[in-house]
């Protein structure tokens, strides 16, 4: 029996495919969509459209981030609102109060989100499972309560975001729209690249079994921390966009736990553990809000019913349905060993039933 511990004995070169025809098509379509969306404000997008799309982009970012965290890295946080709040307050503080302007303010808000997440991780990562979930919630609550003690940030009364004062409405709306478009592209791309990198496999391994992952050389804490910080910065980014669209930041609003509930909703109705899922989920969530949002309390009741129905009847989410339970992947992150494969072994399970999908 040959022992192939040195690389590539027996002359085999394993052929591994990481993308599929669908994913190439998907990439092309994504580029076309993004480019036309970027051009939109000059041609076919009204102010209202741009505003609506901005909201949608915020939801996509939030969904993508929570999915990275819970769906891939296995950290079920219900405290992501902390970073939405930090992003929102961060940009107001840096842009308005420190007077650094929009762009530096935006960058600084992201940096602050990242730093806070990094520091918080030393406490949060001591916890796991239910302890982690509630712990993150309480951490978010602490950040919220601390914010309400800071007078420069308007304390409990909140603060208006004034960096856009003097902009014409159509300019401001378009600028915010472009920022949001860029943000959503960056958020999805960073997540995707992260998951395609070696770390992506590490995330899933850690989620499935942290101890086993560690014995295979995965630095569990480090890979968790990377996902955590990235997700926090993503939520911070969404927070800055929120401040840019609502122009008024109030602690009770940006720090509320419903944000996380919405993220969970988006991820689960779209399909957890896929890049596509949260995008679909965000579109659905947005559409619900937009088209039945005006029926007042019924909107919320319907939202609740849909949440329950989706979980019970479509546990893999809409993307699971569309993709035929994962056969279609526009953003593949896995490793498909395509050759050389021997014919199924005699007493082993003929694996035809699992299907060599893709």
């Amino acid at each position: 029996m040959s022992l192939a511990l040195s690389d590539n004995t027996a002359g085999h070169r394993a052929q591994v495919h990481r993308s599929t025809r669908a994913s190439l098509v998907g990439l092309v379509v994504a580029v076309i969509v993004v480019v036309s969306l970027a051009y939109g404000p000059f041609a076919f997008l009204t102010k209202g459209n741009q505003q609506n799309l901005t909201t949608l982009f915020i939801y996509i970012i939030l969904g993508t981030m929570w999915n990275l965290l819970a769906g891939y890295a296995g950290m079920v946080s219900i405290g992501q609102q902390a970073f939405i709040g930090i992003g929102a307050y961060g940009i107001v503080y840096a842009s308005d109060i420190l007077g650094l302007g929009l762009w530096i303010g935006l960058a600084l808000a992201l940096v602050i989100s990242g730093i806070v997440a990094y520091l918080v991780s030393f406490l949060a990562f001591r916890l796991s499972g239910g302890y982690f979930a509630i712990g993150t919630w309480v951490i978010a609550e602490v950040i919220y309560l601390l914010t309400t003690q800071i007078n420069t940030l308007g304390a409990g009364a909140g603060i208006s975001f004034t960096a856009f004062r003097g902009y014409k409405p159509e300019i401001r709306i378009a600028v915010v729209y472009w920022i949001a478009l860029a943000a959503v592209v960056v958020a999805v791309a960073v997540t995707y690249l992260l998951l395609r990198s070696r770390l992506g496999a590490g995330f899933t391994a850690v989620r499935d079994d942290a101890t086993a992952a560690a014995t295979l050389g995965v630095n569990v804490t480090r890979s968790r921390r990377i996902a955590w910080v990235v997700a926090a910065m993503g939520c911070g980014l969404a927070g800055t966009l929120l401040a840019m669209t609502t122009l008024n930041v109030q602690p009770g609003s940006v720090f509320k736990i419903q944000w996380t509930a919405f993220m969970i909703f988006i991820v689960i109705i779209g399909g957890v553990g896929t890049i596509e899922g949260p995008i679909i989920g965000a579109i659905v969530f947005y559409a619900l809000e937009r088209y039945i949002g005006d029926v007042g309390f019924w909107y919320l009741v319907i939202l609740g019913i849909i949440a329950i129905a989706m979980v019970l009847f479509l546990p893999k989410g809409l993307w699971g349905l569309i993709s035929g339970n994962g056969r279609l992947r526009l953003f593949p992150t896995g490793y498909r060993l395509t050759s050389p494969l021997p014919t199924p072994i005699a007493n082993g399970t003929p694996d035809s039933r699992e299907g060599e999908s893709s």
Partner: protein, 250 residues
Amino acid sequence: MSESQLLSVRGLSKKFGRVVTAEDVTFDVREGEAFGIVGPNGAGKSTLLNLIGGVIDPDAGSIEFGGRDITRLKAANRAKVGIARSFQIPRPFVDMTVFENVYVGSSFAGGTRGQHGYDRAYAALETTGLLGLAETPAGQLRLLDRKRLELARALATGPRLILLDEIAGGLTEKEIPPLIDTIRGLLASGVTVVWIEHIVHALVSVVDRLMCLAEGRILALGDPHEVMRSPEVIEVYLGTTFDIDEGRAS
């Protein structure tokens, strides 16, 4: 310590509350040797592997590997310096394919990324006979294949020392000889093996030295046949005399 000691464990102790699982355990494993561990249930064998692998920290004592003190090294880094292990109760990454499971080993602990990593993962699958299942989600594997996967992942890390915990448990007698061949192949390629097994005849047919643990202490250590003949070992572990020839014959 002589040059050829790959692993040397000194005065290792570990208690869980009042439960003593390792008490002043001291032994060496030579480079390239096959080292067997037996002992009654709950003797502390798996715990010992956990201590060596860095899954848990000892209360006292030290562990050296390749001349380097690794007592404080984290599990992930021990994997990187060349310690691989399999778990008694297999712990596959259920949402990944078999190939991806193994690639985690080759790319992280093995440090071989990209094509090199694929090739090494491929080789490990081939060695363990899992190639036909490479694309199967690991969660769907049955027991034997899960055990094979444990081995394949460990192999893919390119280890100097491999710690096996009851890798033959649950295999039928017909399935054991191929496994033994695999392990012999490992040894031949220069890997050091520490192997816990209750299927004594399989173990004894491979290992150079055997250690028997009981209640966290070393009861006997030395030539496998001698250890198996020691009255204490017979009393606490075997129950009756062990017929080595019978074991070999089957």
